[in-house]
Symmetry: C3
Subunit: 348 residues, 3 copies
């Protein structure tokens, strides 16, 4: 736990914004409105919750300009209070710093290259020809394959696996259990059996990417799989071979992206979405949770295919009709035709 | 394989129930009706399968009261034969016992505290300030982060990752590849880029929880993620930051629970369900397989949204109509209106 | 990167097929049409892309008989050009070979048996009684549990976990993070709590199986979980206890198979499919992406239940009607009845 504190004046000195009330108020951590204590600062990201300010025990607040008058307590006014909160939290909770050196239990191949101030954790394994950049941290039990290049300031948590030949940019975070560069699912049918297609591409990961726990990114079949800079992947996502994910796209947990799909930049993809292979998704597309995208999307916008839930007995009655939609549509057409004829007859 | 045997009399002496037939019948393992041999005991959990008793080669049975007369073989009569089967199986197949001590290849920080009779496996890593309770087993290659507290009688299988500061109760089982305490997916949009929000909460896991292989439970953003006592999580489940799962809830594989959702106690959630963030689910709710829960559920009951499958060519015809449901509903309304007018005209 | 080259004549000498053009053309790697260079060979798997041949810089092609005339460049004509491509790629990119021996940092129990020419990687752990067959490679950080049998020519990548007692055939590939033999999700309700049912079956994996990164295959409850020969499982698949998957079936990523399901041979199952427990799927069934199979399938064919996506505002209008399908069906029936009566009246 961090042991630092700042006055509101010091915070705005570093991060901008404006103090209302006592700028010498000292805070030592950030917390939610409901759990903050008097020595902590809290924040209001959405004006509709401003009723909670009075109940909060926080010593100070971060507020948007529209909420500047919602409390009389010491407060920092920021244009984007949620982003400001993120920055204040990073001030109190900086990422772990590398303790330079190789733990004696780590296994580093003599032909690997570890920057002097990188940190290689207990029982980590760095294979032949791999390079670990300055200030990077390789967590306990992680394995970096032969000829991988890991940039500077990266953070691989415990038990990460990076296969041979992958290239990872600077300030990349890989969470535990994520697997970078396993073989794509490449099979050729051959007389009732499957012939394995060697997967000889790599995974290329840009700067400032974060990849969640147990997410898998497969290496390319022939060309590379590419995750562009600033992409954020949540946990348990599957990225198949030869996928390309555009810069600053964020993808929520449990999503699957099939082979050779190309996702644009600045997209957001909800949890448990599935993206077909060999399709292209434009920049700034939003895909909803649980949605299956089966063809290319050329226009920004939000796309959805989730089924609304209902109480089970209600669902049973409706679900049975889903198998009769085509027949229902035909019966409606037949009714319209007959009714039209009846009307004509009546007017004659 | 266990090498123990018990007479039926000894079993009911330990576990209750009543013997019919020769109480001195000795059995040495439990098995299914179809694979049991003469020295084994089998069980009938559902009366409708009683026809299989005669074909079974088992030397004895566990039966419910309603099936007491369904076989003349030596048998134990129990109120809840399925739970009784679980207890008999635990008798023959006790969980692995800790071989106290730290394997020479394990890396234990000098400022960690390992109970004398705990067992730390080969190449496991216990970081600074972590505590491992009495009788707990840490499997090969597992990593317990700084300042974690692991209770007594826990079993972490191989290659488990627990991030710093997490608290785990007593008799908790964590299966291989599960990741406890990775960062939640907290991002603030900031001028076209994503700002990482430090995740400073913990994961708190109650007593008697079991968590499946490759399941991930993220640490809280500011407050904690909480798994209450007796919760059972299957494999490959994703639990996002600040979720709370109530006591004795069981969740099947591949389910995802988004941030800050609160699941009640004694719920069952089917496989591949998805639960939206920031919603609340009452106690004793059942969610069906593949169901997406998009809003709070205040009443116990069963909720479903799965789509029934059909033969592909049939599905094609029906699926195309799903995009016309709104128009179908409007056309039905129009038909009803016109037909009403026609009827009125005819009666005039 | 491989450093080998072959003439087209040498390739057909090894793999069959026929050369058109200069058989002494020498190539040193395989590549896609768009990225191939003059010293590389490319391939055309589908006649409709033959327009791309002219633009490709490849020095030679692999073509089907139907495309033999689509280019005048040196080319190999094959009956199944995609399978031929797989074989040529395997020629240029052979799987890694075992460097026989046990890495000094690996922990091998004295009562384990390692074949002389097997390779045990850094920080791997082989527990008591386990057997590793000739030519098999155990990757860094992988853990092979007590009494496991791993056949010959297997390849376990880094950080794989195999629980005790599992049996793995020959030439099996297990990718990083996959977990074989964790406990199935076996629970008996007992007075508001869950009683754990010991999982005493094993996982039995046939020859030539490949299992993707972070896929989990649970051990059987009493009997075994069985993956038959030639099965290919992609990443992040969940196979529950007592499932049996028939020979040469291929399953795409993120699919879940519930307990005791039996999948036939030569099936293909799309990504993120979910298969109910205790059902049986015939041989040569194809299940589409995102499809939920809720009952047994006795006939070969393709089965689907995916919901088509639409633009979000469009989806909102249609989704609301899914809860009214039963009422829509009833209203159509009522309309048909009334209209029939009207027609009858009119004709009287």
């Amino acid at each position: 736990m961090p042991d630092v504190s700042y006055t509101l004046a010091e915070i705005v000195g570093r991060l901008g914004g404006e103090v209302l009330g006592d700028a010498q108020t000292r805070v030592s951590q950030i917390a939610t409105l409901s759990s903050a204590q008097a020595h902590q600062i809290s924040f209001l990201a959405n004006l509709k919750y401003r009723g909670q300010l009075a109940q909060s025990a926080a010593g100070a607040f971060i507020l948007g300009r529209d909420a500047a008058g919602a409390s009389a307590r010491p407060r920092i006014i920021a244009d984007n209070p949620y982003a400001y909160f993120a920055r204040v939290s990073a001030l109190f909770n900086p990422p772990p710093e590398a303790v330079p050196g190789v733990h004696p239990s780590a296994v580093v191949h003599p032909a690997a290259h570890i920057a002097d101030d990188a940190s290689i954790g207990a029982n980590a394994v760095i294979e032949q020809g791999a390079q670990i950049g300055a200030g990077s941290i390789i967590g306990a039990g992680s394995v970096v394959g032969a000829d991988c290049i890991i940039g500077t300031g990266c953070l691989l948590y415990a038990n990460v696996s990076v296969y041979h030949g992958c290239m990872i940019g600077d300030r990349v975070i890989l969470h535990s259990g994520c697997v970078i560069g396993a073989d794509g699912f490449g099979l050729a049918p051959d007389g009732g059996r499957w012939l394995k297609i060697p997967q000889i591409g790599r995974v290329i990961i840009g700067n400032d990417v974060e990849i969640g726990a147990n997410t898998t990114v497969d290496r390319g079949a022939l060309d590379d799989t590419v995750i562009e800079e600033g992409v954020k992947l949540d946990n348990q996502i599957q990225v198949a071979h030869n996928v390309r994910i555009g810069a600053h796209t964020a993808i929520a947990a449990c999503t699957g992206i099939a082979g050779s799909a190309r996702i644009g930049a600045h997209c957001t993809i909800g949890g448990a979405a599935m993206i077909f292979g060999h399709i292209e998704i434009a920049d700034r597309v939003n895909v909803s949770t649980n949605t299956l995208i089966t063809r290319s999307l050329t226009q920004p916008g939000t796309y959805t295919s989730a089924l609304p839930f209902s109480e089970h007995s209600e669902w049973l009655k409706n679900a049975v009709q889903m198998r009769h939609l085509d027949s229902m549509a035909k019966r409606i057409r037949a009714l319209e035709k007959k009714l039209g004829e009846l009307e004509k007859n009546q007017h004659e």
